[in-house]
Assembly symmetry: C2
């Protein structure tokens, strides 16, 4: 350290006239987006980050990026934790060269289609939520400007997701951006009295507070299915999934559990709830994006605590404001593989899949025809961390084949995917001979994934290969930083 390099006698003592002047720092509060963008003096090639806690209701990413584009800045790397259909206007900024590269964990809608159609001049890097946190926290991804949608913020930068017109609860994915962004801007439509609390991100990490009319619409948090399925096929899968969970031996006191917000996943949670009540089982924690179903389980004492990185519905938002054991966590704490994280403590995770292959690799990044319409989110992280990862899916849900020889894009490596539950049978990854033994001992039927694939192909025919060009438009990244797969342009 430089403190010890100079001889003490040679250390210069500050002259009285040079003492730092007493007085208050200038205000960091701004009220005009365009003027702030000018003040920031963003250069070509800068990286700009956003978090996605308002999901499809976000109205920060698009206005900020349009304001930046209006200054003529080019060659931006957009580091957005997720990109939703409501952000369609970004397509223009890919085409005019404002945005050259994208790093994200989820992309759906027009922007994803535009990228798949080769409209991005650079490339897209698809990360997991934990991989994003890892890369930002360790400096692999540098953020020049972090714009943080803040449901509430005081004039000194203390952000709370709990207060405000658009309170969205947990804002876990924004922590890394606030801590590591070289310049950080809280964008808020609710300027709270100082001090704003509970403090999620402290003012010490915020350089500017921008007051705007609206950061979006919190009802947009609830996107996709966040209701228990009523479809009998889905309900059968959910019932079989509970049996599979029980067969693993992990459904007992101390259970830790994560499930998504899809209709079948929520039905699994509902079945689990009943089973835990009937068998007087008290779990340790549930984690992830949190829904009201998990809040109910918390409030009924079925879990000691919830670890919440983002609220998936407004009941979760309400709970995080009042339940002491509904804990907020950062994206890094959730799934950063380089630190002590929550996914490593999971017993069971229930996940969806767009496709799976005979190596148990899962694709949730691209959909039919290879179009970008998703991404890992926490898929890869939880599959890796959980003692048992279970994919739940209908075998026959559309004309699109579900089991393939090789998925279009590897989102989650097959060595971390343990069980597949469909309406036509349960498959166990052969790597998990321990699980196969347990299922056999309990006489829970299962078949090989090759057998299940044959059942599907006998009914639907062999899947055709997706037609793609030779041009690579992006990469699917492992949470550890390695590259798992190419993403190709779609014809």
């Amino acid at each position: 350290m430089t403190y010890f390099d100079t001889k003490l006698e040679d250390v210069k003592i500050l002259e009285k006239n040079d003492y730092p002047k007493k007085g208050h720092t200038e205000t960091i509060l701004r009220d005009n987006l365009d003027e702030l963008i000018k003040e920031l003096d963003i250069k070509d090639g800068a990286s700009i980050s956003f978090h996605h806690h308002l999901r499809n209701g976000d109205n920060v990413l698009v206005p900020v990026m349009k304001a930046i584009a209006a200054t003529g800045v080019k060659d931006i790397t957009l580091v957005a934790s997720s990109i939703f259909p409501s952000m369609a206007e970004i397509v223009d900024l890919l085409e005019d060269g404002t945005i050259t590269n994208i790093i994200t964990s989820y992309i759906s809608g027009p922007v994803g289609e535009a990228v798949s159609h080769g409209k991005l001049k650079g490339r897209i890097i698809m990360q997991s939520h934990g991989g994003r946190a890892r890369a930002i926290m360790n400096g692999e991804v540098e953020i020049d400007y972090a714009f943080i949608a803040a449901p509430s913020c005081d004039e000194h930068g203390n952000i709370s997701g709990t207060n405000g017109i658009n309170s969205c609860g947990a804002i876990g994915y924004a922590y890394s951006d606030a801590q590591k962004g070289k310049t950080t801007i809280a964008v808020t439509d609710y300027l709270a009295p100082y001090p704003n609390y509970p403090i999620d991100i402290a003012g010490e990490y915020i350089d500017y507070v921008l007051k705007v009319d609206s950061i979006g619409e919190k009802s947009g948090i609830v996107s996709g299915t966040t209701m228990i399925t009523k479809d009998p096929v889905g309900l059968k899968i959910a019932a079989d999934t509970l049996q599979a969970m029980i067969a693993t031996g992990l459904v007992k006191d101390g259970l830790s559990f994560q499930t998504g917000a899809g209709g079948i996943s929520l039905a699994v949670a509902d079945n689990l709830k009943t089973y835990m009540i009937e068998n007087n089982i008290k779990g340790s924690f549930a984690s992830g994006g949190i829904t009201g179903y998990l809040v109910d389980m918390l409030e009924e004492g079925l879990f000691e605590a919830l670890f919440d990185v983002q609220c998936f519905d407004l009941k979760a938002v309400e709970s995080i404001g009042k339940n002491r054991n509904h804990l907020k966590m950062s994206g890094s704490m959730y799934g950063n593989p380089e630190v002590s994280n929550v996914v490593d403590n999971l017993d069971i995770v229930i996940l969806g899949a767009t496709e799976i292959d005979t190596d148990f690799n899962v694709n949730v990044t691209t959909g039919s025809h290879g179009m970008l319409m998703g991404g890992s989110g926490g898929h890869q992280d939880t599959a890796f961390g959980a003692k048992v990862s279970i994919i739940v899916s209908k075998l026959f849900s559309s004309r699109i084949p579900f089991i393939k020889d090789r998925v279009d894009v590897i989102t989650t490596p097959g060595n971390t995917v343990d069980i597949l539950v469909t309406e036509r049978g349960i498959c166990i990854n052969p790597l998990r001979s321990d699980l196969i033994e347990k299922f056999d001992a309990l006489k829970v039927p299962h078949i090989t994934i090759e057998e299940l694939k044959k059942i599907a192909e006998d009914a639907m025919g062999k899947p055709k290969n997706i037609e793609k060009t030779d041009r690579i438009v992006g990469l699917s990244q492992s949470r550890t930083g390695d590259i798992l797969d190419y993403i190709y342009e779609v014809k």
Copy 2:
């Protein structure tokens, strides 16, 4: 960013056999200090940090440093946020060359005396609390190993100051060490069930959890005077201080306030409380090390919130566990001059002093005979940040002269010290002509500091210069990183 340097076609895709293996990270839990120290393989010249929230009751710093010394490692830089009399055994480690340099914000007792007597081979750097946070957060001070006394911690590193046998409430000075320490060790005597909450420092920042029998004794938090003075002279000073505060025009709705835990400072808080109740004044916040007196004011609705960086008594510890508006803050949030911080929002701070000079420079670093027996703590930070800083002190408290031509060591530069209140008169810094006008308008009497100095000297005689050698043993640092003064060896 390296993500965009390689041609897409040349990006290497991870082979199936090289996929990160599913499975759980090894435990970070350890139960033997000596074995952990061996495992850490600490090298000569390393920097080792500690926080001081258990104050004189801490039993982490000494055992850890003795265990390190036992391995034969030399030339350590000890980065301890404060050093208390109970840490006397450290003196041996200065003498045998285990510890070469010290960076701290407060030092009293045998270790301070040993440093003043030249027993440190290198030097001591005396920082303010905010200056420490600044230097750690911006990388100026590098921490190789941070040992964090954790009142409670789970096996995955989630630390809470609220729980445990030795719950000490806020642990604000440990945040920077946890975030920036290259290797971080939570040392706890209360291994909480996972997840431990409320989480103060998340497991993502912790590399090891060391379970020990005892981290100390929380009754040691209460050190020095934390009772309202009963001395009539002290009470007169406190009454006059309230009048001075009122004269500044700042005692009104929205008041923000900080005071220390000394007997006169607490009497000021007590007077202020009565005045606020009588005049129906509702303040914004009180900050700092928090005592039960401020908790009472919070609970009576006299302040919207408390910002607590460390609890000074057990009533504060109890409050922080139950009052939602008793907010925890990091040392950086408290006083780091490079970020949006709390001291910059202070209206009035009440501070003590060992000596003051006619330039209003304050010394709280050395005592009689120039011996190290204190340090800035938050003194410099709050004097700088507050609109008005008020020093309260008896003019005649011992045979030691209080007002000098030049203080022995400049802890807090005079340009940030605004008012001095003694039993023999109030002095206003001539730099604050605005305050002089206000006092004159309200006919609040005040005299010049030269006049007050003469009163003291007429009674006690002119102070003798402290006898020191020519050897410099350390430096008093400005919170901004500049050096304010030398600290000399004492004969």
